[in-house]
């Protein structure tokens, strides 16, 4: 065993400096699980005395905190940039396996280009050969054949004709998977020749090497994953088995998954275990973790290998949280030469990591989708991943764990139905039920429920869904119990009430079934003494004593959560990631834990998101892996009695609970929930602004369509319309006339007295600003002022922004500061606050005030070196800014640009335009000495490499024609060739800028789409028409998205791109560590 108290000597002494590549921005298929993994790896390596050089373009990650590595490069993750960093830092080794597919691909490119050899950098964890063999399906297939393991029959094809030749052998349905795309992008299931052709074409288009795999289908087979670890001594252990609720045909990332496997006998499980061990050995992953997927035919038990990931993955993060075994941490230690038996199991302390965790509970992971954001995309699940986040729940039984998971999702469901959103069996037809059971969607679980209500048998449901009857039987048990719960007087029947709680029913579900309020259920439950207990996640099913307080609730007898006498602060996390609420909020929660731990508090984290750093067992002193609902949080506060609860860091999730928690006597610290609420309440907030003499765009609230029309008429079109109380500008649009308002009100939202809509004047052409501050009730620290690159009308989460502002007068800046201070003081903000402003023709308007953590807090913290969330957490516990010496705003010399990363390519049919509703999944940061360089890096980091030369396509609406002229001139002067469609071309020509005319799509071929698809065009400047974009524009943007051509839909974006191009032409990009920027900047 590793000597714990003796001085730690690196196992490998021939290396001192290790480079680690992160996974970049959050995108569908690659989310904050890689921050969790990377952070663990950084910590593990530094613990062993290695110097860590980190590259990651994502500022919202914990791993890019300057304390986490010796050298932190917030730079685009490309081979060229990494080469420059390697040249500068001269690491001896590169660990490519903890940063997702991005890191792996970049490492392969570095190796193939000879960079690693040239600088003497060794790949540790997985060698190039192993990565290639695992990633290249043809090599992988050959390796599996050699190992005697079956795989589905499949062929790689590079043309449609080839694909059609192979089709006869495969039969329908067949699976199409493009090579080298992320998260199964472009893959699909074809049931007939027409679909086959369409999916193959699309896949060939999407694949960077124009190649797709066409495969025989194992649709409906049971799907399993094993998380495997191997060390340098060839010891192999299985960390976790996972069984998918959704059988083969739905991407694992979109499947409900359950740990451990439920329906394999020991004989079958051991065969799978042996196969997994054979796979990792024959692929040759030297050390670290891999994820191996299997399909099993439920009729014959035949098993096939589907794929392997030779790295830590989303599933390994889940497996780590599910078992308590920190896969990435251990993987990092194995990579530097330790063997599993030399590493202690942190949880038991006395036993080594060379074992297989065993669990005595059931873990359910449920994906969180965002179909509501992309109405053009049908809610269908297949082999391409579409979910944007996930939640995990732990229960002693599957029933409990599933229901906890469903209420953790924050889709306003109280569990598996038994709430107002249940489908009505009288309304939903048998036909609709059958269709929805047959075709997986985000709603299938609820269709299963209505099927049961309509009398479908479990067998019928199984035939349609292919979901294993074991799962369906458990669902049926919940369903049956629900029937009893709605007829009996549950509140007086302690036995039945207890049974309901054991089956995971929430108080909210019981209240719905009993027709009372949640509070009455809670009181009744407490009067019967029915309270949850907390069990421990300990890797060993209680066989050894656990030293890490990682808990989950259950309705069983013995409680294991020991409460201390220390001063405790509880931090409520953000739940599952979704568009509008992502890693940024988790970052703030983690910082609160760090800061308050340092200050001597016992920190208690409550969260339900398995991807995050906040749910790592060593982030807070104590972790409760629980749904973030009033019921679940109150149960914990009842037991823990914390001094304070922080609700302002976890995004909207904990804020939604704040008022109710406070009413139940929970001590919320920081800005009072009442004042947070005030800022969200348009009417009260309007009054406050008038008192402070601060302008806001003219606005009103409407509780009916009629009122809405009146308000809009008073304000004058265009107007911004949105429902109240939403995050990420959900369902927010710019409406240009009354007809538009009609359509919006009729289709997009439901308006009612309880759910009013907000209507604001749209400030056309205004510049937007974000200001993040920390206030302590007496002082206000301006953390940073950011200027948006896009003009007003684009959601702040989707707009690129720059810090410090680059294009605003000093007087206006001072107004922003004065307003911000006044707002913070009058709202009595204690903690973080974010204010959004618009400046139109020299007039400053407040758009929004959010007295809570904002999405930009991590970005500002990285740009300025001021850890705002930590400062805010301390302020909330009573410390003063002045005492911490933090009164003055710090404006860095370097320029930082934040750019949003959008998921349009994952949503067929969606249009790639920016608007008031947030659509981005993640962000990157670019840092440079001037705006151009910073913008260029941000673009590159976001996956859109600005060109240094070539052809630019310009097509803009009439409003933008005047504005595009100087940009066109600048590009022309920079040596670009311009092409434009009819109108734009004529306008440019009339103003002395020559551009070649290109045909619109409907004008014949070759047209503009062809030019984009053939990569002739290197940059697209295309602004949509005022209302619904025309078919042509749409086709152009889709083509640009699918072919990875940089494009901009706004003039501001085009202008910034031109500046970036200038920087690109001027010089090579330079790379700098965050530590250098912050030192030079004097932060």
């Amino acid at each position: 065993m590793a000597p714990e108290d003796s001085p730690i000597v690196p196992k490998r002494t021939d290396i001192q400096k290790i480079m680690l590549i992160g996974s970049g921005p959050i995108v569908i298929g690659q989310a904050c699980e890689f921050d969790y993994s990377g952070t663990q790896a950084c910590k593990a390596l530094r613990e062993e005395g290695y110097e860590v050089v980190l590259v990651n373009s994502n500022p919202a990650t914990i791993m890019t905190d300057p304390e986490l590595a010796e050298r932190t490069y917030v730079e685009p993750i490309t081979a060229a940039v990494c080469e420059a960093i390697i040249d500068r830092e001269r690491p001896q080794a590169l660990l490519p396996t903890v940063g997702g597919q991005t890191a792996l691909n970049t490492a392969v490119e570095l190796a193939e280009r000879g960079v690693l050899e040239c600088f003497g950098v060794e790949l540790i964890g997985a060698k190039l050969e192993a990565i290639r063999m695992a990633e290249d399906r043809e090599l992988f297939k050959r390796a599996m054949d050699d190992a005697g393991l079956a795989m589905p029959t499949g062929y790689f094809v590079r043309t449609l004709e080839e694909a059609q030749d192979r089709q006869r052998e495969l039969g329908y349905p067949s699976i199409v998977r493009p090579s080298y795309t992320l998260g199964g992008s472009g893959s699909g299931i074809a049931y007939n020749a027409e679909e086959y052709e369409r999916i193959v074409r699309y896949g060939l288009d999407l694949s960077p090497i124009t190649e797709v795999l066409v495969e025989t289908s194992v649709l409906g087979w049971k799907e399993y994953e094993l998380e495997v670890m191997r060390d340098a001594n060839d010891n192999v252990v299985i960390i976790c088995s996972i069984e998918n609720f959704d059988p083969m045909g739905v991407h694992t990332g979109d499947s409900i998954t359950v740990a451990p496997a439920q329906t394999l006998s020991d004989k079958e499980y051991q065969v799978m275990r042996d196969a997994a061990i054979r796979v990792i050995r024959c692929i040759g992953v030297d050390t670290g973790g891999s994820n191996i997927q299997f399909a099993v035919d439920p009729a014959s038990g035949e098993m096939m290998v589907i794929e392997m990931n030779p790295r830590v993955s989303r599933s390994s993060a889940l497996a780590s949280k599910a078992t308590g075994f920190p896969i990435a941490r251990i993987a990092a230690k194995l990579a530097v030469g330790y063997t599993l038996d030399e590493i202690p199991n942190d949880i038991t302390r006395e036993t080594p990591a060379s074992f297989e965790p065993t669990i005595d509970y059931v873990v359910t992971k449920i994906p969180r989708w965002a179909f509501e954001k992309f109405p053009q995309t049908p809610d269908i699940l297949d082999t391409q991943m579409r979910s944007v986040g996930e939640t995990m729940a732990i229960g002693r039984t599957f029933q409990e764990s599933l229901q906890k998971g469903l209420r953790s999702l924050e889709t306003d469901r109280a569990g598996w139905g038994a709430d107002k959103d249940d489908f009505d069996p009288l309304v939903v037809s048998d036909k609709e039920v059958r269709e929805n059971l047959l075709n997986p969607s985000s709603q299938r679980l609820f269709y299963i429920k209505v099927a049961m209500a309509k009398g479908f048998s479990v067998e019928e449901i199984h035939q349609l869904t292919r979901v294993d009857p074991w799962f369906l039987d458990r669902l049926y048990e919940i369903f049956e119990l629900e029937q009893r719960l709605s007829s009996a007087d549950v509140l007086d029947d302690s036995q039945l009430l207890r049974q309901a709680k054991e089956y995971g029913f929430s108080d909210r579900q019981l209240a719905f079934l009993q027709g009372c309020d949640e509070r009455s259920v809670r009181r009744a439950r407490e009067s019967h003494g029915i309270r949850p207990v907390y069990k421990t996640v300990d890797t060993c099913a209680a066989e050894f004593e656990a030293h890490t307080p990682y808990h989950y609730s259950t309705y069983d007898r013995e409680n294991e959560s020991v409460t201390s006498d220390r001063k405790k602060i509880m931090i409520l996390g953000g739940g599952p990631n979704r568009i509008g609420q992502g890693i940024e909020f988790d970052y703030c929660c983690v910082h609160a834990c760090y800061a308050l731990k340092e200050d001597g508090f016992e920190t208690i984290m409550v969260n339900s998101n398995p991807e995050t750093v906040s749910t790592d067992y060593d982030t807070a002193n104590k972790l409760y892996f629980e749904p973030l609902t009033v019921e679940d949080v109150l149960n914990i506060t009842d037991r823990e009695q914390p001094e304070g609860v922080i609700v302002q860091f976890g995004g909207q999730t904990p804020l939604n609970l704040a008022l109710e928690l406070e009413a139940e006597g929970v001590p919320i610290i920081g800005t009072s929930p009442g004042n947070i609420d005030l800022a969200e309440d348009r009417e009260r907030f309007g009054n406050l602004l008038r008192e402070l003499d601060i302008l806001q765009p003219e606005n009103g609230m409407a509780r009916s369509l009629k009122e809405a029309k009146e308000v809009a008429a008073r304000i004058g079109y265009p107007v911004l319309v949105r429902p109240s109380y939403v995050l990420g500008g959900r369902a927010m649009v710019t409406v240009y006339n009354e007809r538009g308002l009609d359509t919006y009100m009729a289709t997009a939202i439901s308006v009612s007295p309880e759910h009013p809509v907000l209507i604001d004047r749209f400030l056309d052409g205004a510049q937007e600003f974000d200001v993040d501050v920390v206030a302590d009730g007496s002082d206000v620290l301006i953390g940073g002022i950011m200027q948006h690159i896009e003009h007003a009308g684009v959601h702040s989460g989707d707009s690129a922004c720059v810090l410090p502002p680059f294009d605003v007068g000093g007087e206006n800046l001072r107004t922003l500061e004065t307003h911000t201070r006044a707002l913070a003081l009058s709202l009595n903000v204690v903690g973080l606050m974010n204010v959004q402003y618009a400046i139109q023709e020299g007039t400053v308007y407040v758009l929004e005030v959010n007295p809570r953590a904002s999405r930009t807090v991590p970005f500002v913290s990285k740009a300025t070196g001021r850890p705002l969330a930590k400062i805010a957490a301390r302020v909330m516990t009573g410390r003063k800014l002045r005492d911490m010496g933090l009164a003055e705003q710090f404006v860095p010399r370097h320029i930082s640009v934040k750019e949003a990363v959008l998921p349009f390519s994952k949503f067929p049919g969606s249009d790639g335009i920016l608007g008031p509703e947030m659509k981005s999944t993640g962000e990157v940061m670019g840092i440079g000495d001037d705006f151009g360089e910073a913008f260029l890096k941000a673009q590159l980091g976001a996956g859109s490499a600005l060109p240094a030369s070539g052809c630019v396509f310009i097509s803009v609406n009439d409003r933008d024609k005047e504005g595009v002229l100087p940009i066109a001139r600048q590009l022309k002067a920079a040596g670009f060739e311009l092409i434009a469609t009819n109108g734009t071309q004529e306008f440019l020509a009339a103003h002395g800028v020559a551009a070649e005319r290109v045909l619109k799509v409907h004008e014949g071929r070759p047209h503009v789409e062809d030019a984009i698809r053939s990569h002739v065009v290197k940059l697209v400047v295309n602004s949509p028409l005022d209302e619904q974009s025309q078919h042509d524009d749409f086709a152009v943007r889709r083509a640009a998205i699918m072919n990875g051509i940089p494009y901009t839909t706004t003039l501001a974006g085009a202008k910034a791109a031109a500046a970036g191009i200038q920087a690109l032409q001027r010089s090579e990009m330079s790379v700098h560590a965050l530590q250098d920027y912050l030192r030079e900047g004097g932060g």
Binding site: T351, D360, D473, R557, E558
Partner: protein, 363 residues
Amino acid sequence: MNPPALVALADGSVFEGRSVGSTGDSLGEMVFNTSMTGYQEILTDPSYAGQIVSMTYPHIGNYGVNPEDDESSRPHVVAFLMKQCCPRPSNQRATQGLIEYMQQHGVIGVEGFDTRELTRRVRIHGVMNAAVSTDDLDSDSLVSRAREWSGLDGVDLVRDVTCAEPYEVGSGEARFHVVAFDFGIKRNILRRLVEEQCRVTVVPATTTAADALALEPDGIFLSNGPGDPRPLHYAIETAAALSESGKPIFGICLGHEILGLALGAEIFHLKFGHRGANHPVKEHLSGRVLITSENHGWGISSDHLPDCLEVTRVNLNDGCVEGMQHRELPIFSIQCHPEASPGPHDSYHLFGYFAELMKRHAA
């Protein structure tokens, strides 16, 4: 809902659950098993004779039972406890549900109580006697019965599980002939031996060394089995005699303990035993760590090992001796279960090693 059932431990704790198997009452030694799969193998492993087994994994019975996965002709546990027992199996090989199987074979089953609390009690306080009943639902009465029961220490349980008559498995053409002493042998051990080209004559535990050697075996196998090895004087004497024969000998679990006692080692009672499928065991020769299937309440003490024996394997969790061999003779034994079933196949090669010893010895 199923009728109530009670589990009482000698430490005074009582768990109220529901009956899911046969009815009645029984007394036994309370143990827990941490395997997430393999309940059928556990139920039918004769080593569990006299024991009440509580499964730590909450869902048991999911994949039903089937005739192939039995480790002996019948279940041996005296009662089987779990959080939730699955009423309807889901697996292509299942021929019967677990509840029906337990009822058919007279196994008392209890579900629906805090099995983790029970596990923690046993871990903290050590293995203890317990009583389970579907009839006597009076806590005090059941606790007293658990306390009054004399327990398994010093009891010979092997006589109840060993075969009455010798029998043979494997082909007559096989390369080796093994005489296997049945102290409660698992079927997968026989399968592994057959796989290694052995014809196996399984003999009752009381067979003498002379009778065994008269069968002219190439090697001797001492099987696993239930309970306390100390009262098994006949077997210990036989093992001592056999060890002088110079024949290769392989012992597993109880067989390993018997061999140890025969060669002068000391044994001790583990606090709560090893029962599961995830224990890391280091094999000294290869330096490798193997994940093992475990089921033992007794162990060989490493402190007083006679000079003729050396430790070949240790459990990395607690340093327990998991394997030993004779320094001069072709004799080795394993505390854990290389035949797995349930559990990982990491130690299958030991059967090959036994075959190798027989080959060398024959040469």
